[in-house]
Symmetry: C2
Subunit: 116 residues, 2 copies
C-alpha cells in the first residue's frame, strides 16, 4: 500500500527546448508494485507545455486544478478543474497551461510505458 500527497513528492523539473515549465511526479508506480498502471502528477507553470508527441500507449487524465488545453490529433480542447481526458494510443497530443495559475493534472498510463 502507499498513501502520500503530491505536495510531499519531490517534483522532477522538465524545462528545455521541447517541454516548458513542467514538473512531474510519480505518485504510484512499479516501485509500489502497481502491476497494471501508473499514476503521475504534472504541474505546469504559466506558459508551460508538453511537446506534441505520439506513442503507442493511452493516457487517462483528470484535471485537479487550474485550466489549460489539450491538443488531440488536430484540435485544441479547453480543460478545467474536474475535466477528464482519454487519449487513445498512437494519437498526437499536447498539454498546455492557458492561465497564470498552476495547471495540475494526474495522467495515468499502462505498465510498461516509461513512468516519467
Amino acid at each position: 500500500m502507499k498513501i502520500t500527497n503530491y505536495k510531499d513528492v519531490l517534483p522532477i523539473v522538465m524545462d528545455n527546448e521541447k517541454i516548458k515549465n513542467v514538473t512531474g511526479r510519480i505518485m504510484i508506480g512499479k516501485e509500489n508494485n502497481a502491476k497494471n498502471f501508473c499514476m503521475r502528477l504534472f504541474e505546469m507553470g504559466p506558459s508551460g507545455y508538453t511537446p506534441k508527441h505520439v506513442h503507442d500507449w493511452e493516457h487517462e487524465v483528470f484535471v485537479h486544478s487550474g485550466c489549460g488545453e489539450v491538443f488531440i490529433k488536430d484540435t485544441f480542447y479547453p480543460l478545467e478543474e474536474g475535466s477528464a481526458v482519454f487519449i487513445p494510443p498512437n494519437i498526437e497530443h499536447q498539454f498546455r497551461n492557458t492561465s497564470e495559475k498552476p495547471f495540475i493534472f494526474v495522467c495515468l498510463i499502462p505498465s510498461g510505458a516509461p513512468e516519467l
Copy 2:
C-alpha cells in the same frame, strides 16, 4: 478519445444499508475503448462511506477535494486534497467522509473488474 467533466456525467446514486451517501461516475472505461484501466469518480456527502470490502484487484486513488479517511487492513488513514492512495489486491479497505463538505476522489481499477 473522450473529453468530459465529472459535473456533466450523470451520477449513479448509492445509498443503502451497506453504502451511505455516495455517488459514482464512470469517467473513462470500456465504452471508450479504454483497454487497460478504468477511471471512476466518487463523491461522498456528509457521513458518506463505502463498505469495508475486499477484492482481487487494486485501486489507485487521487483525492480531488474535501477530506476523509481510508481504512486499509486494520487502520484508518487521513486523506485530503492532493492525497494519492494505492490499495493492492486482496486487502480490506473502506473510504469515508470526515467533514461536512463533499469528499471527491477518482479511483482507477484494471480492466475486467466491475466498473461500478
